[in-house]
Symmetry: C2
């Protein structure tokens, strides 16, 4: 199953057996005071810098989220989307909890974006899916509903099934739905890893959809987060996640290793290419 | 299913849901000129040093192999086993392609060791399994037979099935058989990763046995081997490998991360303990 997203100029295809597609997570003010302050002041300089840095680090798609206190997302989200479109040529994952802001951003976007996100909540399905249909976008479906994030893998699969079913009723093709099985943190939930890995395996087997997740949530509050994030993303890619939301600069080399191990990198050309780039960078720093 | 191995004083249990058991790989002269020279001279100093260093780095069991040109394994293997037994208190995985050498080493070993290895070859089954039975040892069964290492996962599973079947005929309990699905190198076989991961999954599902593998083979000849080894071991542990043969100093932190993600490290106590040890070590180096 292939999810095709695009800019005005180029297409990115997400699909099993293909190289993992990285959705850059860094344009999001949560926990980033400097970015939050800049957004409040309407200053797009950091957004532009982060867009350039992430694409340089290997991000294939950029998530754009401006949600923080004191920001009017309805006016600022389209502006951030414009900024990113003029800085880099990668598809955008338009990320907001405000449907009105999503709609304004969709109006200015050129190409086929991803909408982040719809949930299994009745209200979300009713408001977001028509937008997905109207703008012929792809959408991330989160495995949570009116009861929150279900504890069990099977209940998360049930939410994914519901989202796919409701979308298909509106004529949204299944390949335009990307499921996120929801990563909780190991620091709070000892079985956060096993539950989400089981859900990923089951959603892939039953629905065959492409899948994302917020990798670094797993390690929140624990030491040496990168070690955990790398082990976790390796397992999750093997189970079926093929467009994770990540900090590309920190995790791309592990993702390329996973792709090579899973026969998605013929002749190891991407893996070795990235190694050579690192060597060059390392050499120029001396 | 639990594989119990021991020294004269303590037991190590390998089993699903338990922390991954690390078999230290470094007492093996293949590709190590200094160790090979020392072994030829009958000098056990490096063996002793490697034993201490690996246990310090977190190895739970030590593989002991003295096979190199110019070495009489029949006399040297028992000597190396004695050396390791007096240096450290961890079970030994007695590793030789010479059944006579295995037998002499088994005679001196105190506790329950692992024999490395039996294959699906007729001759190997006929010679090694009686030793396993006589000394009530555990044994590593390699998924290869008279035709070499099968290309397909299903054929490797068939070899594992055969080894388990032949062992059970001699009264060797299934829990004393540890299967190695055989890691080839990605540099030579583009599907080396996918085939062995599929074999691991299928052997675990069908036979339920504990499983080992030589992790670092996957990256032979490729750059930045540790990145590949870490991604690969994370996937393999998730699929069922629970006593890999590794360089503990290089990979233990990733294995502890994998165990934490897979709910085998309650309260993250092993993961955080290892982090604190690294901090202490780092601090003392300043």
């Amino acid at each position: 199953m292939e999810t095709k997203v695009s800019t005005a100029n180029k297409e990115i295809i997400i699909g099993d057996g293909r190289p993992t597609v990285l959705i850059g997570e860094r344009i999001n003010p949560t926990g980033k005071k400097k970015l939050a302050d800049a957004l409040r002041a309407g200053d797009m300089e950091i957004v532009k810098k982060e867009a350039l840095a992430q694409v340089q680090a290997g991000a294939d798609i950029l998530d754009v989220n401006v949600g923080t206190s004191g920001v009017d997302q309805v006016s600022l989200l389209p502006c951030a989307v414009q900024t990113v479109m003029s800085a880099v040529d990668v598809p955008i994952c338009i990320d907001s909890d405000k449907p009105e802001a999503l709609k304004e951003a969709l109006k200015v976007y050129r190409g086929k974006p991803i909408i982040n996100s719809v949930t299994g909540q009745k209200k979300s399905l009713e408001v977001i899916l028509p937008l997905v249909s109207e703008y012929k976008a792809a959408v991330i479906g989160l495995c949570m509903d009116d009861g929150g994030i279900p504890e069990s893998a099977d209940k998360r699969v049930a939410v994914a099934r519901k989202i796919v079913g409701e979308a298909e009723k509106l004529g949204i093709p299944r390949e335009d739905i990307i499921i996120d099985c929801m990563v909780l943190t190991l620091g709070a939930e000892g079985n956060a890893g096993t539950v989400v890995l089981e859900a990923i395996r089951k959603v892939k087997a039953e629905l065959g959809v492409n899948m994302t997740f917020g990798c670094s949530n797993i390690s929140f509050g624990l030491p040496d987060r990168d070690i955990l994030n790398r082990a976790f993303i390796s397992m999750a890619i093997a189970e079926g996640v093929n467009c994770p939301v990540v900090d590309a600069a920190k995790i791309r080399e592990t993702v390329l290793a996973a792709d090579l191990i899973l026969s998605r990198d013929k002749w190891a050309s991407r893996y070795i290419g990235a190694y050579r780039e690192r060597q060059k960078l390392h050499g120029s720093k001396k």
